[in-house]
């Protein structure tokens, strides 16, 4: 309450540096964070309050109170309180431990040390004591304590490098730089302490990529943007120190503002169960009312006279009042329809299923020694109902490893394995890879299986040399040497990393660069090139070039870029080579590789000088500067000579294609949500078969304004419906409200496959309320949806959109911190574990190491869980209706006096002891078809999506079944007892014998039913089912024994009953008849259903039986088609602006920074440093337009 009030008030924030008193006026939040819910004092009341908010718990509490009223009590109090207390204590203990760990982590974070300038001195202070306005010193590899305004740093120009993995999941380094006025402050503590600038800025918000503010200092104002802010959660890298002023602290920081509240996730079965419990409660009330009215009438007609004769002589209660009391008494008796054991059993079953997930060896990834883990144990059956999967790309679908696979140089393909048999197979390790050991700087793991390239290099083929030289020269990579003397590349795009590394492995080693020179080692000799111009990359150009002068004085332009663009720039003499290379490119693309075309041009000195002058003029020009520059770039990048092309593989995770194919067969729609660029995303879409060339159309939405987006959506829709004329009528009619209903109709009428690609900035507009529905409608009609350049928040919004309007069960899978919000908001969040970042896993409900395990998680575990849970619920409701409703029938024969049919002990134990284990065993172990079947036949998954196994209809069938059984259970013994006499002439139609007969029949009927329901009889099922019956009889005889009666005569008044009743033949005849009569109709119905409407699993079981002797058929491997359209993309993961950074020399280090612990970590395993290098270099979430502003 307090917080929200304050938020409302705060429209802008005014912070004065080094002036705590001034800032205190505004009551900004301090830097302490709370994620815990309770403390020692509040735990009990709050936790109990929360627990009793659950309908079920409140209901049982209410029942307990009823039972304590002697006038009403018709059951002893212990029947309810024992299980209730048990359940509540268990939950409370679990909550307490959870919260304890939250306290612990809060404390750990709050007590982290940071250096703060207090009283003109640098002092150590705990994080929680850092205040807004303080100036904080950060050191390399430290976590940032709060959102800071960067003042100064150890690096030139006030630059500092940060890693934002915790914020957005990107592990590449980002540059922040301080205002030049403040960067002059340096590390001078006294000057910093005197710094008294006032920052006026926006109020706390969750936008990670935006910041607006003004710093007023020394009578001048400086505008502040996101480039000057270091956010909490970042890690300082490659910068030995920096100073910053705290702007937002604690809960106001963007990190905390972004961390959505963990919602308590419930499964749809849970919700259905709650509804059903309410219905049942309503049903109970109805029964209670009927019986109460019955009681009133009975008291009036019969009981009145009876009373005076029998008892109640002193009481003059009215029949209406008696009816009122009876109502409550019956509520107590009939409450066993929904016993607490239902909730406990559901939890136990889910826990069991979770353990099966944890134990599954087929989801264990030996590469990283990571088993699958069910982190939430309450969602398992929802895994069997997934309709939409939202997948992150990098690290989830792809390994985020770029490997240089192939190249085409001067019309010759290198890197192809010319072995026809093994051609299409994975290259096995047996095959001898090219020996790079001659290269001192070669990287160990690099493998290229073609010796011909090495030979060409050795032979000195000039084209090949030029090709590799280009790769070593034309890039934005920074190099540095670590202590061990190893060369390390700082790449901002993993593609480039792969290319430069490839060149390095072939002997063209990029060594170092200055703003004016590039030094490379060419087959052992150091050559320094003069860097004359750097024609930077941008999205329109889709290429980059460098102009260098080699030691011989020749000026050359080296260019690499998207083939489509570059091919237009070629010299006409290249035609022959062009068509050859073009074929090669198509071939590469067909294999899902990313391609780049490589070309060069020799320039003569004079021409270059002229051009250079023009460029300088253009740079100095005030108007149309950009246009003029790009014109000049165009001019010089012409008449290029084609060298060849490269092919880089963005390695997919293992088995992604199979998994995707299999999941789509299971009718699950997969959407890719990625922060990456459109081209990359589309490429991956093609690579994993989600986009194919067979698709009728791929709609790309990339408008920048709301109007554009709307127009694009409309067009796409028109296009879609235009091709399906049959629908056109329906579309016109569709009203907003009918829209969603229509969707299903639409889906069926749409033929052909469509795909939708939408950009983050378009998505921002499309998610606005009025366009939202159009977007959703369109997206749902498409087979594949790819959202690129989306922010973490947008990911969550998309998930929410589908969740809310489609009413479908969603699953989000991702590996990075940027997926956290999506993982949290989807019904089920899955984290890829075994990676560096843990955020996704921590926020997830399930985690495993490889995307392909999703198939097993859903198709096997999810399906089984859903199947078992539904079977369990059906049986449980059936059982308890059969168990309880006999009281209702009995009511008509006992003057509606709330007499129970059974012994109190039987009522207490029935659900806990006599019938709990068999149904639990079924709920945990049952299998309708084997795991192999469900993997092979993804269609088996569909009943879960359609919610067929347990829904309201099924529930009513179960209830009807239960009611029927209760009728049989009651009226057969009733009829038989009516005139029955025992074998020795004694009457056996007494209440206690009746109770024993009923109880025994019930236990037997219910056990036979579970025996029929259990389709997978393991030893455990045998033990539990037979054991339950045995337990029933042993407990029955024990409780009816003489010994126990003599000790507790009041508690066990049924002495001798079991013995005498069960000695009678006719009692057994009754039990037998009851069993036959209640089971046979069920068998009949099932038989009919199986023959008339066989389900898929029935068919599979038949088929299995028929094929039992034959060997299991070979697994159907989903075919891995590759589309052949060429998708060149230099733009992948490349960011504009680095060229300028290089030429300006801003990011050049004077000296090598001391090795940092972070780097040491990455170097620890020297074989994998390239992986670290190429880690995640997804673009910033900024849109294109913002890219320009980012220029340094």
């Amino acid at each position: 309450m307090f917080c929200s009030k304050k938020k409302l008030l705060e429209v802008e924030r005014i912070v004065k540096a080094n002036d705590r008193e001034y800032n205190e006026k505004f009551q900004y939040a301090d830097n302490r964070i709370h994620t815990s819910k309770y403390n020692i004092l509040t735990f009990l009341p709050i936790n109990l309050f929360e627990q009793f908010q659950r309908v079920a718990n409140a209901y049982f509490l209410f029942l307990l109170i009823l039972q304590l009223i002697p006038e009403i009590s018709s059951l002893t109090w212990f029947t309810t309180i024992v299980p209730l207390v048990l359940v509540i204590t268990m939950t409370a203990v679990k909550d307490a431990t959870d919260d304890y760990f939250r306290h612990k982590s809060d404390n750990q974070v709050n007590n982290r040390q940071s250096e703060v300038i207090i009283d003109s001195k640098l002092q150590n202070e705990k994080w929680m004591n850092v205040k807004v306005g303080d100036i904080v010193k950060l050191e390399n590899n430290q976590f940032v304590a709060a959102d800071l305004l960067l003042l100064s740093s150890s690096e030139p120009h006030g630059l500092c490098y940060i890693e934002t993995a915790e914020l957005d999941g990107e592990t590449n380094l980002k540059v922040r730089h301080a205002l030049s006025v403040t960067s002059e402050l340096g590390a001078d503590i006294s000057r910093l302490a005197r710094f008294d600038g006032i920052v006026v800025c926006e109020a706390p918000n969750n936008k990670l990529d935006k910041f607006m503010g003004v710093l007023s200092w020394k009578d001048s104002k400086h505008s502040l943007d996101n480039q000057k802010i270091i956010l909490r959660g970042c890690i300082l890298r490659n910068t030995s120190w920096c100073f910053g002023m705290v702007i937002f602290a604690g809960p106001d920081t963007k990190l905390m503002q972004n961390s959505g509240k963990t919602k308590f996730k419930r499964t749809s079965i849970d919700r259905l169960m709650n509804t059903l419990v309410l219905w049942i409660f309503g049903f109970l009330v109805c029964l209670g009312i009927i019986l109460a009215i019955g009681n009133s009438i009975w008291e009036n007609q019969v009981g009145g006279q009876f009373r005076t004769f029998l008892f109640w002589s002193e009481g003059e209660k009215s029949s209406v009042f008696s009816g009122f009391l009876t109502f409550w008494s019956y509520i107590i008796i009939l409450n066993t329809v929904v016993p607490i054991s239902l909730y406990v059993s559901v939890e136990v079953i889910r826990l069991g299923h979770s353990y099966f997930i944890n134990w599954d060896r087929k989801m264990y990834y030996s590469g990283k020694a990571t088993p699958a883990e069910a982190r939430t144990t309450t969602l398992n059956e929802e895994l069997g109902q997934i309709e939409y999967i939202f997948s992150d790309k990098t690290g989830t679908l792809t390994q985020n490893i770029m490997t240089f696979k192939k190249c085409s140089i001067n019309g010759k393909i290198y890197g192809e394995v010319h072995d026809d048999v093994e051609r299409k197979k994975e290259i096995t390790k047996k095959k001898e890879s090219v020996d790079f050991s001659v290269r001192s700087q070669a990287k160990g793991t690099f493998q290229l299986f073609d010796h011909s390239l090495m030979e060409s290099i050795k032979l000195g083929d000039p084209q090949v040399h030029e090709f590799l030289r280009l790769l070593a020269l034309c890039h934005t990579v920074m190099s540095e040497e670590n202590n061990a003397g190893q060369l390390i590349y700082q790449v901002q795009s993993p593609d480039e990393g792969a290319l430069v590394t490839a060149a390095r492995n072939f002997g063209f080693i990029f060594k170092s660069r200055t703003p004016e020179t590039i030094t490379i080692e060419e087959l052992g000799t150091l050559v320094t090139y003069q860097l004359l111009a750097f024609l930077d990359f941008n999205n329109i150009r889709k290429r980059m070039s460098v102009i260098v002068r080699n030691p011989a004085g020749q000026i050359k332009l080296y260019s690499k870029g998207a083939d489509t663009i570059l091919f237009e720039k070629l010299h006409p003499s290249n035609e022959g080579l062009l068509s050859l290379t073009s074929d090669h490119l198509s071939e590469f693309a067909g294999e899902g590789l990313r391609t780049l075309a490589i070309a060069y041009r020799e320039l003569d000195d004079k021409y270059f000088q002229e051009w250079h002058k023009m460029l300088e003029d253009a740079n100095a020009a005030m108007d149309k500067r950009d246009e003029r520059i790009s014109g000049l770039y165009e001019e010089i990048e012409s008449d290029l000579m084609l060298l060849g092309a490269t092919a880089i593989e963005d390695k997919l995770q293992e088995g992604v294609i199979e998994t995707v194919t299999s999941l789509s067969l299971a009718n699950i729609k997969i959407w890719i949500l990625t922060g990456d660029k459109q081209e990359t995303a589309i490429n991956i879409g093609y690579a994993c078969n989600m986009l194919t060339d067979d698709m009728n159309d791929v709609f790309v939405i990339s408008g920048n304004t709301a109007v554009e987006v709307r127009e694009e959506l409309r067009k796409a829709k028109e296009n879609l419906f235009g091709q399906n004329r049959s629908f056109s009528n329906g579309h016109v009619v569709s009203e907003n409200k009918q829209q969603l209903e229509l969707d299903s109709v639409v889906e069926e009428t749409i033929t052909g496959d469509y795909a939708l690609v939408i950009n983050g900035h378009s998505l921002a507009h499309a998610l606005e309320s009025d366009v939202k529905k159009d977007l959703l409608e369109l997206a749902c009609l498409c087979k594949t949806v790819v959202c690129c350049r989306v922010t973490p928040l947008q990911k969550a919004q998309v998930v929410e959109l589908v969740k809310k309007h489609r009413n479908a069960v969603t699953l989000a899978i991702g590996d990075g911190a940027n997926d956290v919000s999506m993982i949290k908001s989807a019904h089920i969040g899955v984290g890829i574990s075994g990676q560096e970042g843990l955020q996704a896993v921590l926020a997830s409900d399930y985690s495993f190491a490889q995307f392909r395990y999703l198939q097993r998680l859903l198709l096997v575990h999810g399906r089984w869980s859903y199947f078992r849970m539904c079977k369990f619920l059906c049986y449980f409701f059936y059982k308890n209706f059969a168990f309880t409703l006999v009281h209702f029938w009995f009511g008509f024969f006992c003057g509606f006096s709330a007499q129970t049919v059974y012994d109190q002990w039987f009522i207490t134990l029935f659900n806990i002891v006599y019938t709990s284990l068999p149904v639990l065993a079924m709920g945990i172990f049952d299998q309708d078809v084997s795991d192999q079947n469900s993997m092979d036949c993804p269609q088996l998954y569909e009943p879960g999506q359609l919610n067929l196994l347990f829904n309201k209809r099924k529930f009513f069938i179960c209830v009807a079944h239960g009611i029927y059984t209760s009728l049989v259970l009651f009226f057969i013994p009733f009829g038989a007892f009516y005139n029955m006499v025992g074998e020795d002439g004694q009457h056996v139609a007494d209440y206690q014998s009746f109770a024993v007969t009923m109880a025994t029949s019930l236990v037997i009927v219910v056990s036979v039913q579970i025996a029929l329901d259990t389709s997978y009889w393991t030893v455990i099922n045998h033990v539990f089912i037979w054991g339950s019956i045995a337990t029933y009889f042993s407990i029955l005889f024990a409780m009816h024994s003489n010994g126990i009666y003599e000790v507790f005569p009041n508690q066990f008044p049924f002495v001798g009953n079991a013995w005498h009743s069960l000695n009678q033949k006719c009692i057994w005849l009754i039990i037998l008849l009851t069993t036959v009569a209640s089971v046979i109709p069920v068998v009949t119905f099932r038989f009919l259903k199986m023959h008339l409407y066989p389900s898929l699993s029935d068919q599979i079981r038949w088929w299995q039986k028929a094929q039992k002797k034959a060997k299991p058929t070979s697994r159907r491997r989903p075919q891995t088609r590759r589309s052949s359209s060429r998708r060149s993309g230099y733009s992948f993961a490349h960011q504009e602006g680095y060229g300028e950074l290089i030429t300006s020399g801003k990011n050049m280090r004077v000296k090598n920074p001391p090795p940092t612990s972070g780097l040491e970590k990455t170097l620890y395993n020297s074989t994998s440093w390239i992986e670290n290098l190429c880690k995640k270099t997804t673009d910033t979430v900024n849109s294109f337009s913002q890219d320009k502003a980012v220029k340094l």
Partner: protein, 343 residues
């Protein structure tokens, strides 16, 4: 390296059948033949049992005489509580056309008497009835103590409402020779009731042990005078009392009253002829619109088998056969359909 390898191993889930969900199991799946066999067999079994039960039920000889209206005068008199100490007898002659062979049992049957009311069933003191403490009347509301606060023995509504008609069966060999049919008043109860559940405080001087208690308000004599002739049938051990205390499940019930003592004329059972029931009418039923009857009955192998069970079995058997034929027909049709589809 080796250490790392072991580390990997330790995180690898165990390869046990239960953890991998590969427990050897039998998949329950009945073939059509099996289902038909089960149906036919069960049907045949039920049908046979049903016929046997019906036949044996028809063999049972039973005479029921409802004397509520026959003894109308007495009934009227009993409706007035003030006449509780007045005697009223009623004699009902009847003719037994066929000899009742074997053991003959005499029951009384009450209609519309709710012995299964919740509060009624609870209103008894097990401690008292076990003879542990005759003054323990804790659970006996509303018949715990008399108006003088003296505890009632036996307390509670059940005991208070005990059936107290006396029924004597006489055989009229000729108009002059009325022979009282010898009847046994013991052996009517379960062993556990007689020896565990109900115990007198002492075998001797029974009345002494009931000092300080009062007889139930509707009783005519105290508990220790129920059968003064037989100490084993007196007090809480009285068979009629025990039989009554075993409350009936339904408002219409019969309870064993006497067994035929097969001596002399009656060694083969009850010979055909004229009989009278001499009933001393004490138990008022018209007040609550109930009825009462006296029953003479023989037994068969499974007790006094009722027609209901036999009928139910027969019907179930027939139903099973019918449904199995129907299922076969449907299944055959489906198979034909499938075959034609294949073609």
């Amino acid at each position: 390296m080796e250490k790392e390898f072991q580390h990997h191993l330790s995180r690898m889930p165990e390869n046990s059948a239960i953890k991998q969900q590969k427990l050897p199991a039998h998949r329950l799946h009945f073939s059509n033949q099996a289902i038909f066999t089960i149906f036919f067999a069960t049907g045949a079994f039920c049908f046979c049992i049903g016929i046997i039960l019906l036949l044996s039920a028809w063999k049972v000889q039973e005479i029921e005489i409802n004397y509520t209206n026959i003894c109308e005068d007495c009934a009227k008199m009993r409706e007035n509580a003030l006449n509780f100490d007045k005697q009223c007898t009623c004699s009902i002659p009847f003719n037994l056309q066929k000899t009742m062979k074997g053991d003959v049992y005499m029951y009384y049957k009450l209609y519309g008497f709710y012995q299964n009311l919740y509060r009624y069933v609870l209103s008894r003191s097990h401690n008292q009835l076990m003879g542990k403490d005759v003054r323990d009347v804790k659970d006996c509301a509303p018949f715990k103590v008399t108006s003088n606060k003296i505890p009632i023995a036996p307390c509670g509504a059940i005991a208070n409402s005990m059936f107290n008609d006396t029924i004597i069966l006489s055989y009229i060999r000729s108009t002059s020779e009325h022979i009282q049919v010898p009847m046994l008043k013991t052996g009517l109860t379960w062993w556990t009731d007689k020896y565990v559940k109900f115990q007198n405080p002492s075998f001797r001087n029974l009345s002494d042990h009931f000092v300080g208690t009062e007889k139930p308000p509707y009783w005519q004599e105290p508990i220790y005078e129920l059968d003064t002739s037989d100490p084993g049938n007196n007090g809480f051990l009285n068979d009629d009392f025990i039989v009554w205390m075993r409350t009936a499940a339904f408002p219409t019930f019969k309870k064993l009253y006497r067994r035929l003592y097969r001596v002399k004329y009656f060694s083969d059972g009850l010979p055909a002829g004229n009989y009278t029931f001499d009933i001393s009418y004490n138990f008022p039923v018209t007040k609550f619109q109930g009825e009462k009857a006296v029953i003479l009955s023989t037994l068969t192998w499974n007790g006094g088998s009722s027609i209901f069970l036999g009928l139910a079995y027969t019907v179930t058997g027939v139903f099973l056969w019918m449904s199995s034929f129907a299922l076969m027909a449907i299944q055959g049709k489906m198979r034909k359909k499938k075959l034609s589809h294949r073609r």
